[in-house]
């Protein structure tokens, strides 16, 4: 260090000396006291709002567990419903699984393709922003309207309510969720990876399939899982397009008949004039809630893993 640098380090800026208040104690002065009070009030409001949200969830879960747990048994999960005579939810569980699987088979490929279009082919274009608007509106559509639409599209044409119609309705609900979440996850893939693939003289679509899509796969799966959880609990459209089925039978051919489902089981059983019915409905609600919670937690874990893998 030169002599000049040393003298620079030792010199105090002249303006500093006027503001020196070494005598007064280190307590809030001026408007600092008021600012601190406002800050504390705001923090309290935010914490209360958050606590309210948590309390609501805890209350819902606790009520469902308290009322539903007594109904849960091996027989409840493995036997079909016998209507007024009791029984279980096995046929509704399997029916829900069939319908959601069908819906996922329709919505995931379409949703991922739309996500790729938005993020890789035409990002930031007028087409993309129009499409984003359409997807967001579709996502905000009351689900009963989706039911009405599918009723007109499939049920009136076939003159019967079917599991397929239910699956189509659920896929319409899933599609915007998957498309938007895929788009967002694909946008997280660092641009440097696309650049690296481009610089290797590999065609664009191969780069998308070989680099971008695999890097985003975990996040896309997360979005799909959340959409599945959402669809599994959807009731309104099923009332319209898949509400007519024999509640006591395993009717699992989604093209030929209506297919039982867990939400519909809850809705119909709740109304039955039998003393055990209410308990069965709570039990089914607990099963549904558990499935949704597990899916959500799984989605979180998946997302964390894929972000780590992406190096984010």
């Amino acid at each position: 260090m030169s002599a000049r640098a040393a003298s620079l380090a030792g010199r105090r800026p002249r303006g500093d000396q006027g503001r020196r208040t070494t005598g007064t104690p280190l307590r809030p002065a001026g408007n600092l006291r008021r600012r601190a009070a406002i800050s504390r009030a705001a923090e309290l409001a935010m914490a209360s709002a958050a606590a309210l949200a948590v309390a609501l969830l805890v209350d819902v879960v606790a009520t469902v567990v308290a009322n539903g747990a007594p109904a849960i048994s091996l027989a409840f999960l493995t036997q079909p419903s016998r209507g007024l005579a009791g029984g279980g939810i096995a046929n509704a569980l399997v029916g829900s699984a069939v319908m959601v699987a069908l819906a996922a088979a329709i919505a995931i490929p379409l949703g991922v393709l739309i996500g790729l279009l938005l993020s890789e082919v035409a990002p930031g274009s007028r087409l993309a922003s129009a499409l984003e608007l359409v997807l967001d509106m579709l996502q905000g559509l009351p689900t009963v309207l989706v039911g009405v639409f599918v009723f007109g599209l499939i049920v009136t044409a076939e003159h019967k309510e079917t599991g397929l119609a239910g699956a189509v309705a659920l896929s319409i609900i899933m599609l915007p969720l998957i498309a938007r979440s895929s788009q967002q996850v694909l946008a997280l893939v660092p641009g440097t990876l696309r650049e690296a693939a481009d610089a290797l003289g590999v065609d664009r679509w191969r780069a998308v399939l070989g680099v971008t899509l695999p890097a985003a796969a975990g996040g896309i799966a997360t979005g799909a899982l959340l959409a599945i959880a959402r669809a599994a609990g959807e009731t309104a459209p099923l009332l319209l397009v898949d509400g007519l089925y024999d509640p006591a039978a395993f009717q699992l051919d989604p093209i030929a008949h209506g297919v039982p489902s867990v939400p519909m089981f809850i809705y119909t059983t709740y109304d039955l004039p039998a003393p055990s019915a209410l308990s069965l409905a709570w039990g089914a609600a607990l099963v549904l809630l558990s499935g949704v919670l597990v899916a959500n937690i799984g989605a979180r874990i998946l997302l964390a893993r894929s972000r780590r893998r992406m190096g984010l």
């Binding site: 440097t192 481009d198 610089a199 290797l200 003289g201 590999v202 065609d203 695999p214 890097a215 190096g311």
Partner: protein, 299 residues
């Protein structure tokens, strides 16, 4: 002549040491800048750049530039920030094409072929003219798959294992990773990742390697190994390296192009100021602006 120039030459060659304390430094063979001084003919030109100018929208990034880049030569591009070094480099394999508003005038001939001719495929351009970026950007795949991905996609599937091994050996990374080829490339250190990116680029046997500040995100030891690698690779490839580090240019490059910011039509744009054998550019620059820059008076 100052200590900074001797420092810039990495202590190599015949410059007398001017009392600069020796630091840890990799022994590098001198960059042979005397090849031209000895009257040896330059290798044939790989790039013949004629009046190349680049605009982004209405802003001119690069004023008309004319120079040749020679085969099996390390050419460094130096200059202050914003002088168009990266724009220049990325114009040599059409990486700028995807930037909105990019416009190039003039001509860039690569081995006699117009790089920007309508019939030219930019995918093919990039297959022959590879690029390594400032920040290491390995794919989130295994070490092996990083190197094997491009050959696989380009149909070079026979002897893929040998190809991967050879590329990793050329990039001086093989010994460090041979026992963990299936591990994620993201677990490698920054310097290893950058050498992996070089291995990935040379696995498809390009003709030219463009390096955009390849060591600026690395620590000094990793930088030294990248520089050593650049010197070794020039026997097989033609290399153009952008660097903001003059010492690095002096250590690795046979020829150096100095870009500055100059007024063009009233607005400042990157301009080629001097292009010469590296030693000449650093010890006996023809242009006073080069002299100011290499002696540390600006930039």
């Amino acid at each position: 002549m100052t200590a900074s120039v001797n420092d810039a030459m990495g202590g190599a060659g015949d410059l007398p040491a001017l009392g600069v304390a020796p630091r840890h430094r990799l022994r590098l063979e001198p960059a042979e800048p005397d090849r031209e001084a000895r009257g040896e003919p330059l290798p044939p030109a790989v790039f013949e750049i004629r009046d190349m100018a680049v605009h982004y929208g209405s802003a001119q990034a690069l004023a008309e530039t004319t120079l040749d880049i020679h085969a099996n030569t390390v050419t460094a591009v130096i200059g202050p920030s914003g002088c168009g070094k990266s724009t220049f480099l990325r114009s040599l394999n059409r990486m700028n094409d995807s930037i909105p508003g990019f416009r190039l005038s003039g001509q860039v001939l690569y081995r006699g072929h117009d790089l920007y001719a309508p019939a030219t495929s930019r995918v093919e351009v990039r297959r022959r003219i590879g690029m390594v970026f400032q920040k290491p950007n390995p794919f989130p795949k295994s070490i092996y798959d990083n190197v094997a991905w491009a050959p696989r996609n380009l149909g070079m599937r026979t002897g893929l294992d040998d190809r991967v091994r050879h590329a990793l050996e050329q990039a001086a990374l093989w010994d460090e990773v041979k026992d963990r080829l299936r591990e994620s490339a993201l677990r490698l250190s920054g310097g290893q990742q950058q050498r992996l990116c070089i291995a990935r680029a040379i696995a498809i046997e390009p003709d030219v390697l463009l390096l955009d500040e390849p060591a600026s995100a690395l620590d000094p030891l990793a930088t030294a190994s990248i520089e050593q690698l650049i010197r070794a690779l020039r026997h097989r490839f033609t290399i153009v390296v952008v660097t903001h580090n003059m010492q690095q240019a002096a250590r690795v490059a046979d020829r150096t192009a100095f870009f500055g910011l100059e007024a063009v039509d009233g607005r400042r744009a990157g301009t080629l100021i001097e292009y010469a054998p590296t030693r000449t550019l650093f010890t006996n620059p023809a242009d006073p602006r080069t002299r100011d820059y290499v002696s540390g008076r600006f930039g």
